[in-house]
């Protein structure tokens, strides 16, 4: 009898301890990063579901035409424009511009609170993926960045003083691999995905202790398996994961879209095998870096259709959570959020010629048509993708997912080359893509409103030159988008009717955000044309060659 009571008490104590431990871990995770304050934009896609949707309602469909400029911030570095999505937390904006210039700004006035300009290694002037950054991460009282010269750096959130830095890559030793996107906060871990794919490196995803910057793990995006990488190809197989990842607190998983393999174009035998884990999705345990599941959307990618350009939208329907992820090849993949099992695959682009279709149950590519060495191979979509790295937006009010889509193709001519022959400033494509029109007529763009799970299109706005900025929706039924010429637009999210526009002066490639401070709502547009992709846009739309670069955060508000 006594033994029974004791063992029962012990079990109870153990259970209590386990529960308390679990609760304290959960509290630590939610304290690290939270998305439940309607006034804030605390992470790259605003919330853990990556919806870029704000519950703020002061700016409405009726009064949006009364928006006026509240202030402008100029970071002073315009090379490659301003590609960021700024963060806003408790009345402070955290912004990053070219050369990894970080600013904390008063969200009501745009005035600088502090700035941090890292001393960058000279290599930053030589490598290709530079000198831009798409954003910072903020958590634990720190601002985290990934630099163009391969470092992870943590700054004090209040003062901007450097707290720690960790060198993760040496761009000179990895064909120019570096960081151009925000790290991802996963509880007390911080994950970093480097550039890669178009360079002959061996891309990894890194997990760091957020408090100390110490490297905890490195996940090889190129699977160490000769069946996936024949011969010596893994040594320079590319990979990496160059866009920010998505942390799912419900499953404690961090998701990354992986880069394509190198060389982009396989002239025949360049990289035998399926080239796992490139051009797909990996779901990692943030504490260990071990993969929980993965899906390779384009095995042995022959077209530069990496997974990195797709964000991870979490959508719940009938009690079931799904992850929606677009691949550059034009298909959108729907995964079960718990298991990663494929639920559906649907076409986002109108013109997809590189295969006949994707099996929606298995993801199998039907009748893929790889380019051939010695031929001019035509493929739609182009290497820039049906959708580039700009993020869409999902409104729970309309149930629609908004995306900027491009109907542009390319002709590829392959060149056989050794990775050692490629200088540091160049990319290892294995050929050249030249932009081309789709089969039916001239190239064009379209802003779509679709059901994210089925792909059913509700409406679209057709443009000539595509829009390539991230999108924003709000609870008052507004959709905000910026174009490459410099116009900021507001649309009715239900119908696509344009309600407001403003000439920013230079194109939007980054992400507009909204926030409130002192009870007043603001919209910020990052204005500043840049990025590698627009060079190919200029092949179809040559007027873009003369479009001005720039860099300015332009904030709008009502009276």
């Amino acid at each position: 009898m006594k033994t029974c009571i004791l063992s029962t008490l012990n079990s109870a104590a153990l259970s209590l301890a386990l529960v308390a431990g679990t609760v304290s871990i959960a509290v630590a995770q939610t304290d690290a990063l939270r998305d439940d304050n309607p006034n804030n934009w605390p992470m790259y896609n605003r919330s853990f579901d990556s919806s870029r949707y704000s519950p703020l309602k002061e700016i409405t469909k009726d009064n949006v035409k009364n928006l006026h400029v509240a202030w402008i911030h100029q970071p002073g570095a315009i090379l490659q424009g301003l590609l960021e999505t700024p963060l806003v937390i408790d009345g402070v904006i955290y912004s990053i511009a070219s050369y990894d210039r970080v600013f904390a700004l008063n969200a009501a006035t745009g005035e600088e609170i502090w700035h941090y300009f890292p001393k960058l290694d000279d290599v930053a002037n030589e490598i290709f993926f530079a000198p831009y950054s798409r954003g910072v991460a903020v958590a634990h009282g720190r601002v985290y960045i990934g630099t163009i010269d391969g470092r992870a750096i943590a700054l004090d959130q209040k003062t901007g003083k450097e707290l720690w830095q960790t060198k993760l890559t040496d761009p000179r030793k990895c064909a120019g691999c570096n960081f151009t996107s925000p790290p991802t906060v996963a509880g007390n871990l911080l994950t970093y995905g480097p550039t890669g794919g178009d360079i002959g490196d061996q891309g990894k995803i890194y997990g760091l202790d957020a408090a100390t910057g110490k490297l905890v793990w490195a996940f090889e995006t190129l699977r160490d398996d000769p069946k996936s990488w024949g011969g010596d190809s893994r040594r320079t197989g590319g990979g990496g994961a160059w866009m920010t990842g998505a942390y799912d607190p419900k499953t404690d998983t961090v998701l990354y879209g992986t880069s394509n393999p190198a060389p982009d174009f396989d002239w025949g035998g360049a990289r035998p095998g399926d080239n796992l884990y490139t051009s797909g999705v990996v779901a990692l345990d943030p504490k260990t870096g071990k993969p929980k599941w993965h899906f390779q959307e384009v095995p042995h990618d022959d077209w530069d259709f990496d997974g990195a350009a797709g964000e991870f939208l979490f959508v719940e329907k009938d009690g079931k959570r799904s992850i929606v992820h677009s691949n550059k090849g034009g298909y959108v993949y729907v995964y079960d959020a718990e298991s990663g099992a494929l639920q559906n695959a649907w076409p986002l682009a109108d013109n997809i010629t590189w295969l006949d279709g994707v099996d929606p149950k298995t993801g199998e590519l039907k009748n893929r048509k790889a380019p051939k060495f010695g031929e001019k191979s035509y493929a739609c979509p182009w290497i820039v993708g049906a959708k580039s790295w700009n993020t869409g937006s999902y409104s729970p009010d309309t149930g629609l997912w908004y995306q900027n889509v491009m109907e542009v193709c390319n002709i590829v001519e392959m060149d056989k080359s050794a990775p050692e022959s490629i200088p540091l400033s160049a990319l290892w494509f294995g050929g050249t893509p030249t932009a081309a029109n789709p089969p039916g007529g001239p190239a064009y763009g379209h802003l779509d409103a679709r059901d994210p799970l089925t792909g059913q299109r509700k409406w679209q706005i057709r443009t000539g030159m595509p829009m390539m900025g991230s999108l924003l929706t709000t609870a008052s039924g507004l959709l905000f988008a910026g174009d490459l010429k410099g116009w900021a637009h507001a649309y009715d999210a239900k119908t696509g009717e344009e309600l407001w526009k403003f000439n920013l002066g230079s194109g939007t490639r980054g992400g507009p955000v909204t926030y409130a401070v002192n009870g007043k709502q603001y919209i910020i547009f990052p204005s500043g044309l840049g990025s590698a992709a627009i060079s190919l846009v200029a092949q179809i739309w040559p007027e873009l060659t003369e479009y001005p670069a720039g860099a300015a955060l332009v904030a709008f508000t009502l009276n």
Binding site: D415, P423, A426, T432, S535, Q539, L544, G550
Partner: protein
């Protein structure tokens, strides 16, 4: 002595008034019209310069077209490739140190050949 000094002054001013004399005296190490050199330049060009910058065979990208560029001399082309270029929001890297000078002259020969319609 004065004649000697005068000679020195004349020679010194020749060099300062025409600072390019020593540089311009250099001949390219290759025959810029040699089709074999142009072909080498084309190979290097399409491997190194296209992609997200110049486009295949010098077609436009974010950089202006290199086709039919009567306005570019061989020296200007060679110098720009070697030293790079910055122009209000755009940058071209410096290729000296990454490509040897012979390759840069071959690229120059190729770009000169683009003056003819393709």
């Amino acid at each position: 002595m004065w004649r000697y000094l005068a000679l020195v002054i004349v020679l010194a001013s020749t060099v300062t008034l025409w600072p390019g004399i020593a540089a311009r005296g250099e001949e390219p190490p290759i025959d810029l019209n040699d089709p074999a050199q142009v072909a080498e330049g084309q190979t290097t060009f399409n491997r190194t310069c296209t992609g997200y910058c110049h486009g295949r065979d010098g077609l436009q990208g974010r950089a202006p077209s290199l086709r039919g560029r009567e306005d570019l001399s061989s020296e200007q082309i060679h110098t720009t490739i070697s030293n790079g270029r910055r122009s209000a929001g755009k940058v071209m890297p410096a290729w000296k140190g990454q490509l040897d000078d012979q390759k840069i002259w071959q690229l120059t020969a190729f770009i000169l050949s683009l003056r003819e319609p393709h």
